[in-house]
């Protein structure tokens, strides 16, 4: 037995240090409480995830940078075709250099400027569509999931809409509205909310019949408040994850739409356009930078939001709050 241990034992035996406390039921009630707050814990867990913090900072600075980039000094126009003064011909396919940081594309536009302009466009679309998906999708999904009377109808309606090929809708929209930023946003808003609504509906059906909802109904709480107070808070984490995933998803759609000729007009740079242009030169290793730069930006954005979404979902799950 070491000396230290002996000291401890002695201390325990020393009655002066340990006296019986009086029983106090009120004090007993207080035992084991922490000053817990849901969002506080969520934040705490989230902040523990170093990768997520890094990516969050990265995305924040990316968004900031794409916004201020055009106002920085020495920036070129994303659409101006640079011409070689000697020959009068466009400076096509210039390798990355001091003048053109990311090189130029097949017609002599500055890839650096195009990539940031494209990122701006794509992110803007993705954010608008994301907000719409969340707003409209959640609204429809919540009502659909909560109000039983319309469930059967909504489910059938969903089956119908879901089975109409998106390509038809998109072609029609592009045909009626012409390819443009607005068309792109409308097209994606028109189709994107469906998945979100379905998702929210399923979640709500799962939690709808939990007893605390019955309790609220007994108390006469109106449906709107039951949805906002009892249901949506449970969905916040999954919803945030969906938003985070919908941003790369939307950009992916944009790439696909561009691929089938329904994308943005090419004079509006976007990641979809840049990638599509890049794909056409990917067989030429020397020009592959035209594919690599936008692909890297796209991948970084996708990975970041993807990881962020998952990290947030983990952090916001109260089961992880211990």
């Amino acid at each position: 037995m070491s000396q230290k241990e002996q000291q401890v034992i002695q201390a325990i035996e020393d009655e002066a240090l340990f006296t019986f406390a009086e029983y106090d039921p009120e004090a007993a009630e207080r035992v084991g409480y922490s000053d817990y707050s849901y969002w506080g814990s969520t934040l705490k867990i989230f902040l523990k995830n170093k990768t997520a913090i890094f990516l969050l900072a990265l995305m924040a600075s990316l968004i900031l940078f794409t916004t201020i980039q055009p106002y920085l000094p020495n920036q070129k126009s994303p659409t101006k075709i640079h011409v070689d003064p000697a020959t009068g011909h466009p400076l096509r396919n210039q390798k990355p250099s001091n003048e053109y940081w990311f090189g130029t594309n097949v017609i002599g536009q500055d890839l650096w400027a195009r990539i940031w302009s494209g990122t701006r466009t794509s992110l803007l679309i993705a954010i608008i569509v994301g907000i719409w998906e969340v707003g409209f999708g959640i609204f429809i999904g919540a009502v659909w999931g909560y109000v039983r009377q319309i469930d059967a109808f909504m489910t059938e309606a969903y089956n119908v809409i879901n089975n109409v090929p998106t390509t038809i809708l998109l072609m029609l929209l592009a045909y009626i509205l012409r390819p443009s930023f607005r068309t792109m946003v409308i097209a994606m808003c028109a189709t994107g909310w469906l998945g979100m609504a379905r998702f929210v509906r399923n979640q709500i059906v799962i939690i709808r019949d939990r007893e605390y909802n019955l309790a609220s109904r007994c108390l006469g709480t109106p449906t709107s408040r039951i949805i906002t107070k009892n249901l949506l808070p449970y969905l916040v984490s999954v919803i945030v994850m969906r938003i985070a995933l919908s941003i790369p998803g939307t950009i992916g759609w944009e790439v696909f739409l561009t691929y089938i000729g329904l994308g943005l007009p090419i004079d509006t740079p976007s990641l979809g356009n840049l990638l599509n242009e890049g794909r056409q030169v990917m067989m030429a290793p020397a020009l592959r930078y035209q594919l690599v730069f936008p692909a890297v930006v796209l991948s970084v954005i996708t990975i970041s939001f993807y990881v962020l979404g998952n990290a947030f979902a983990d952090a916001s799950d109260p089961r992880n709050h211990y």
Binding site: R148, N159, N163, G252, L275, A295, I303
Partner: protein
């Protein structure tokens, strides 16, 4: 159960009917030019009219729709009008389905096997090295545009040589088993990532549950717990989606089939929509939505079989 099934199938008939009618009307909104392809300017108005008449496009839309349905009742999906004029739709897809279905099924098996294995491996090594390795794979597959990495796979892997001969041919060839490998792998990459992620998440959830802790406390080995508790439960929700994905394998994969020249269904729908072959579009939409709805239905039944807690006839009340 039988009654329920019949009712549900009848319901889906109505759904399919509405879907087709809707698709039909949407297709009519597309411009007439699509029916003529290249030669529009070289055709006289009479000729254009003759062509439209031949395809039955001059009839009012409800007559066209009625014709489609009446031939459908006779078990005839109609004849293609633009994609391959006068060829029965059935003949066109009959040739294509086997390829897509074969590849699709094989890909599902491959991705299920590797995906689940990977997912389990990740969950058991949660937060450790292999979890991170596989996670980066999942992130990579989700982040990099498929159009890019699939093309790279095809170009570079088919370029590999063994004793001066390529190991994998560039294009699919029905007589050469080696040519099946790359498309199959390409098709499975996404699925593997999906299943792995799903399995990992599910397992991590389950492993935190009380009953697993209890089982551990009882002294069950990890392996027993995995097999007896986690895996069995994990398959229940999966059972719901499996039939739909199996059935829909016949719709093929647009991009991979294009790259490897696999004569399957992939992209057929986009093709016929772009060419405005209304009959084909309707037939395909009919097939796909029927399969989709059937898939969901079978999924529910499978779920009910696997999970005794679920009954198809829910007892619900309403305020």
């Amino acid at each position: 159960m039988l009654k329920y099934s019949i009712k549900r199938l009848l319901q889906s008939l109505v759904t399919v009917f509405i879907v087709i009618t809707l698709v039909f009307l949407l297709m009519r909104l597309l411009p007439e030019e699509g029916y003529f392809g290249d030669g529009y300017d070289k055709l006289t108005p009479e000729q254009r009219e003759n062509i439209l008449r031949k395809f039955g496009l001059l009839d009012p839309w409800y007559i066209q729709l009625r014709n489609f349905y009446s031939s459908l009742l006779k078990g005839d999906l109609g004849k293609s009008i633009i994609y391959r004029p006068d060829v029965p739709v059935i003949d066109i897809i009959k040739l294509k389905i086997p390829f897509s279905a074969a590849f699709g099924l094989a890909a599902i098996c491959v991705s299920l096997f590797f995906g689940l294995t990977m997912g389990i491996h990740m969950a058991r090594n949660k937060g450790r090295f292999w979890d991170k390795v596989w996670s980066s794979y999942v992130v990579f597959i989700n982040a990099v545009p498929a159009a890019v990495y699939l093309l790279f796979i095809q170009l570079y892997i088919t370029g590999l040589k063994f004793r001066g001969r390529s190991i994998f041919p560039m294009l699919f060839n029905r007589h050469d088993p080696r040519s099946w490998i790359l498309p199959l792998i390409s098709m499975s990459l996404g699925g593997i990532a999906g299943y792995a992620l799903w399995m990992r998440r599910y397992m991590v959830d389950q492993l935190n549950q009380d009953y697993i802790r209890l089982a551990r406390a009882k002294g069950m080995s990890d392996k027993q717990i995995m097999v007896k508790h986690v895996m069995r439960n994990a398959f229940v929700p999966m059972a719901q989606y499996l039939p739909a994905s199996v059935l829909l394998t016949i719709s093929g994969s647009i991009y991979i089939e294009s790259l490897y020249s696999i004569p399957g269904m992939g992209g057929l729908l986009v093709d016929v929509i772009q060419r405005q072959d209304n009959v084909m579009v309707q037939a395909l939409v009919l097939i796909y939505s029927t399969l989709g709805i059937w898939g969901l239905f079978l999924g529910d039944i499978l779920m009910a079989i696997f999970d005794p807690r679920i009954r198809l006839e829910k007892r619900e009340g309403a305020r």
